[in-house]
């Protein structure tokens, strides 16, 4: 009886030590879940989800305070990726937060701009250049298409235009059930 208890106890202690050691020795530094979620968000920082930026939304998702379907710029593929990461069922985009649109970029009508800097203050990624009473312009490469600069403009000189597809960024269309013309006539 005693030997059995001793043997089992020793074994338990040994395995416990082994497990404890491997937990330290082979520790995997996982990305905290907030970072992983944040990585999947499109970083437009548009706030359409109801949070002030992508990271707060990621924190809210991680904390269970927000659903995964509140990000219109991410669209269905974004929801899909989040669902996969979190192991939940994907669901359609919540229409309350807006609709998914093609990538867009802000363009300032430089004739109308009065240089009020309101849009510069609104831009979440500092993609608008200009100073007080100087004409402003958007750095198209850095613009996330978040729309946040449109509302503050007192003279409505900012327009969101779809990003033009260049040769280098052109995508092959998804094949239809049968071959269809892949482009209309070029000229």
């Amino acid at each position: 009886m005693l030997t059995a208890i001793l043997a089992l106890g020793t074994l338990a202690a040994l395995f416990g030590l082994l497990l404890g050691y491997s937990a330290i020795r082979f520790r995997v530094e996982g990305d905290p879940i907030v970072d992983q979620i944040d990585n999947l968000l499109p970083q437009t920082q548009c706030g359409q989800c109801g949070f002030p930026g992508c990271r707060p939304y990621a924190e809210a998702i991680a904390g269970g305070e927000a659903d995964i379907n509140q990000c219109p710029p991410g669209g269905d593929s974004g929801i899909q990726a989040l669902a996969e990461l979190l192991g939940v069922d994907p669901k359609p985009l919540n229409a309350e937060h807006g609709e998914h649109t093609e990538a867009r970029v802000a363009v300032i009508d430089e004739q109308t701009c009065i240089g009020c800097t309101l849009c510069i203050q609104a831009c979440p990624v500092d993609a608008i250049l200009g100073a007080a009473k100087q004409m402003h312009t958007v750095i198209a490469r850095e613009c996330t298409g978040c729309d946040l600069c449109v509302a503050p403009c007192p003279v409505d000189c900012i327009e969101m235009v779809p990003v033009e597809r260049a040769l280098a960024t052109w995508k092959w269309p998804y094949p239809q059930g049968e071959h269809r013309p892949i482009a209309d006539t070029g000229s």
Binding site: W172, P175, H179, P181, I182, A183, T185
Partner: protein, 345 residues
């Protein structure tokens, strides 16, 4: 000038599903003729009933699913399913056996899974297994092969009446018109402690694998080789299947030649050749990688031997095929070929 556009390549297509299915159907002809020669008109009724109900079932369910009917029927896959099922059925089975089997194969095993290309199991074999489990009695109604029967060969009219109304010709009972197949009888007799050599001596066992059956299997073999030459099927599945079945049988036969049938008997009896060249090679439900096909074929071969020898049913091609169908996705996953320029997988 302006022109239409599309994605490459542009050459005329070299293959077509409909043509493949047609070739498989053509390759069945020698085997079907042999079957007809030895077992009579029932074979023809089975073929017609089964093919017809398969095609009708396909059309009906496509209409229900709101899919275009003509192109789907045009690929000939439903017809082929019907033919394959018919060739596996006992020739004197009542008319509703082929009808029910074919309809079940098409509706449940094929279309409910999404139609051609999406069915995980071989539809014809699903139909066959459903029949043999649900109606074991009707599934034994094999007449004796011509030349072996003592007494009566049914003519066209008699067969028609038997199949459609169950009426046997005067002075005959259903029992006197049917006879166990070699595989079936061998199983029973071995169970009764006869030795293999005693069993082999009976006329039912013919030259080497059962009277009639050896010719039928040879005819299927010929059709299968033609398919291989025409590159409709690849060699891996038939070779692995026949090799594994033959090798297993040989192993046990050498170990104890009294209790275990010879490899030749296993290779040329029952549905072996039909299964090896026409059923196991059904691309939709089989493994697709070259190495995977070897494992898949070998698995069917070994399972067939095991079920034939120790299982509850005389023939086992259908069960083995369905079992390996289940394993096909896993086999494919683990047998991916090494990709060009990769060191190893």
């Amino acid at each position: 000038m302006d022109f239409p556009t599309q994605s490459s390549p542009y050459l005329p297509a070299s293959n077509d599903v409909g043509q493949l299915m047609l070739r498989v159907s053509l390759a069945l002809v020698p085997g079907a003729l042999c079957l007809f020669w030895f077992f009579g008109w029932g074979v023809v009724f089975n073929l017609v009933l089964s093919a017809l109900s398969a095609v009708l079932a396909e059309a009906a369910i496509l209409a229900l699913r709101g899919r275009p009917i003509r192109p789907a029927l045009g690929d000939g896959s439903a017809l082929l399913t019907g033919l394959l099922l018919a060739l596996a059925l006992p020739p004197l089975a009542p008319w509703w056996i082929p009808v029910l089997g074919a309809a079940f194969a098409i509706v449940v095993a094929k279309q409910l899974f999404g139609g051609l290309g999406y069915n995980p199991f071989n539809p014809a074999m699903v139909g066959f297994v459903v029949l043999i489990i649900s109606f074991p009695l009707q599934m034994t109604l094999w007449p004796p092969p011509t030349g072996l029967h003592e007494g009566h060969a049914l003519d066209l009219g008699e067969t028609f009446r038997l199949i459609f109304s169950g009426a046997t010709p005067d002075s005959h009972t259903l029992d006197s018109l049917t006879m166990a197949t070699p595989l079936d009888s061998a199983k029973t007799q071995l169970g009764l402690d006869y030795t293999w050599s005693e069993i082999r001596a009976k006329p039912l066992y013919g030259g080497f694998a059962g009277y009639g059956w050896e010719w039928i299997n040879l005819a299927y073999l010929a059709g299968g080789l033609w398919l291989w030459r025409k590159r409709v099927i690849q060699w891996q599945i038939p070779v692995a299947l026949l090799g594994a079945l033959g090798a297993t049988a040989l192993l046990f036969h050498i170990g104890d030649s009294d209790t275990f049938g010879s490899p030749l008997f296993h290779l040329f009896s029952g549905a072996t050749m039909l299964g090896a060249f026409f059923i196991a090679t059904d691309p939709v439900s089989a493994a697709t990688t070259p190495r995977g096909r070897l494992y898949y074929g070998a698995g069917i071969g070994v399972l067939t031997y095991v079920i034939r020898t120790w299982g509850g049913y005389p023939d086992a091609i259908a069960f083995s095929v369905l079992l390996m169908n289940m394993a096909a996705p896993t086999i494919d996953y683990y047998t991916q070929p090494r990709v060009f320029g990769h060191r190893d997988k």
